[in-house]
Symmetry: C2
Subunit: 335 residues, 2 copies
DNA sequence: CTGAAAGCGCTTACAG
DNA sequence: CTGAAAGCGCTTACAG
């Protein structure tokens, strides 16, 4: 391995000068700077980042902690963050928690030990004290998709309660009765808020809530939907709390020969790439994932660079994409 | 920040002893080990990984370089790698190259400077000399999905030529004539091999190849399919070279009111989560992405631990999933 | 089994 | 503008 000393020797200067020529924040005589550059290319020297980080007491790495990168919402978010990080010279350490507190804590501790400059976190548990430990260490944390309890952390999320309200209202307005809800995990903020939005609209219309308990994953959603079909044969519509569960619900409906939107109208929360490809094309509520991720990164950078002291929450809004799964377009065709 | 010296002071031992008590590879007297442990918990000490890495001249981080994590094939692979890495105590730095040599080189250089212990790489360019530079530095590289030219790198990939052959043969055997191919990038190994497999089968049957040039992305595939429909109104089947392009092709077919499998039968290479949800359900060739990723990680660990000297290539095989988009099931129903 | 010392490869006040 | 020196927080031969 070629070190800064080798470069210094070849260029006939001290290691200090080589260092200054590289970082470029201090004045270096132009001829000597050139000689250093030549020596660097001649030797193929690459500064050892670990040594630099130790000396500077900081890395150029951010931690990105999501529940599961296979969820298209988080895939897109991670991609957007990685893009922005690359442009600004930061590295991204990717962590999946599977919504477990254990993995979240383990990973946050690793990130602290790695001296990351900041963390974007989809919190599995808003009350995790490890988040506060990071903040105590002056490592900024931006919560994504959900909030954390420690109010020193910024947060970027969407109005999940409103999304469920819009979805439920849309089904009722389309003439559906006995509208059911396949919920995500109630112990996770997005899951709880989407459920509450649904319940609120149902109670507003004097209707009973019909909830199938899922956990944001395909398999349990399929089971929940099958059970609901047994218990409530009169279901006329269903709101599904996230994209992965839509797959499970569609499987259940096909298995039971229930037609969509004929027998049951369906609205999915989240907008996956395949929303308009499935049969029938899905009516969805999509959130601006990419913008949200970009904003989360910007907020983190503001903290890293010390530009901002006050905590900031930013709330984004879902958008309704009306397609075929709630029967709306059929109405349009009849005109 | 609490350092090893603070712990040593509180425990009444030297920093060396604290270090040995933590790493645990050298004998430490049980009572002193306990005192050290107590001091560690009392102070909430976490060893600084950067300092450790600098001293040990290696990190515990691997680099994972893919073309685009939004491609479901790579999403799944990255997730599998991250899981395995977590279990073995490694961190994952995620890098997307968008199939460009520039980003690949920039990232590989960053990973070298970060002193990663190994790299799993989906090469955008098999001839990139930066790969050899890594190998020169004794940083093992495992190529994933494709090979690299430097034969010191292990490689895990699937038999892409065979996949295209099976897909094309399946369409011809289903009675389709004028079978077209929507290709990926010909300058990328998987793209070239899939194209060659198609051409081989077509020429074997004395048929003319009908190729729409795509680049593995949705938009260009849509355009390519539209153009093909204009030029060859008699197309009876189409093989699509990857999952993202299937979306574009289906959009084009719908736009032109071409029915699947009535007018055109379709086989997609890759097995995305939505394969059985689209209408009609897609006949696909799926590769065992998760197994491949796990194997790639194992190969990397063998190199990192110095257990193996010889380069290894491992070839996995695609599996045909017959669904509705090539009309096969309709045949079955008629029995 | 334990401590003192050296050193990993940088950066950065401090002089000059 | 440049160099010598100190030091970031660890680990690890070397003694004892």
């Amino acid at each position: 391995m070629v070190t800064i000393k080798d470069v210094a020797l070849l260029a006939g200067v001290s290691a200090s000068t080589v260092s200054r020529a590289i970082t470029g924040d201090v004045q270096v005589n132009e001829p000597t700077r050139l000689r250093v550059q030549e020596a660097i290319s001649a030797l193929g020297y690459r500064p050892n980042r670990i040594a630099r980080n130790l000396r500077r007491q900081r890395s150029e790495t951010i931690g990105v902690v999501v529940s599961d990168i296979e969820n298209p919402h988080f895939t897109r978010a991670v991609r957007a963050i990685e893009d922005a990080a690359y442009r600004q010279g930061y590295r991204v350490i990717l962590c999946n928690t599977d919504e477990t507190l254990e993995k979240q804590q383990a990973y946050l501790e690793v990130l602290a030990a790695e001296q990351v400059v900041g963390v974007i976190l989809v919190p599995a548990d808003a009350a995790d004290p490890t988040v506060s430990e990071l903040l105590d260490m002056k490592i900024p944390v931006v919560a994504f998709d959900r909030r954390v309890d420690d109010d020193r952390a910024d947060a970027v999320f969407a109005d999940n309660r409103d999304a469920a309200k819009v979805a439920t209202t849309h089904l009722i307005a389309s003439g559906r009765r006995h509208v059911a809800f396949i919920s995500g995990r109630a112990n996770i903020q997005t899951g709880a808020e989407r459920l509450h939005g649904y319940e609120e609209v149902m109670s507003l219309h004097g209707m009973d809530a019909i909830v199938g308990v899922g956990d944001f994953r395909q398999d349990t959603a399929r089971l929940a939907m099958l059970r609901l079909l047994d218990q409530h044969p009169d279901i006329g519509g269903v709101v599904v709390a996230n994209n992965l569960m839509v797959i499970g619900v569609l499987e259940a409906l096909r298995f039971r020969d229930v037609t969509v939107p004929g027998d049951i109208a369906l609205v999915g929360i989240d907008e996956p790439a395949w929303a308009s490809l499935v049969q029938p094309a899905l009516t969805t509520l999509g959130q601006p994932t990419q913008q949200m991720a970009n904003r989360a990164f910007e907020l983190l950078i503001e903290r890293i660079s010390g530009k901002r002291e006050a905590t900031r929450f930013e709330v984004f809004h879902f958008q309704l994409h009306v397609r075929d799964s709630c029967g709306r377009r059929q109405f349009d065709l009849s005109h």
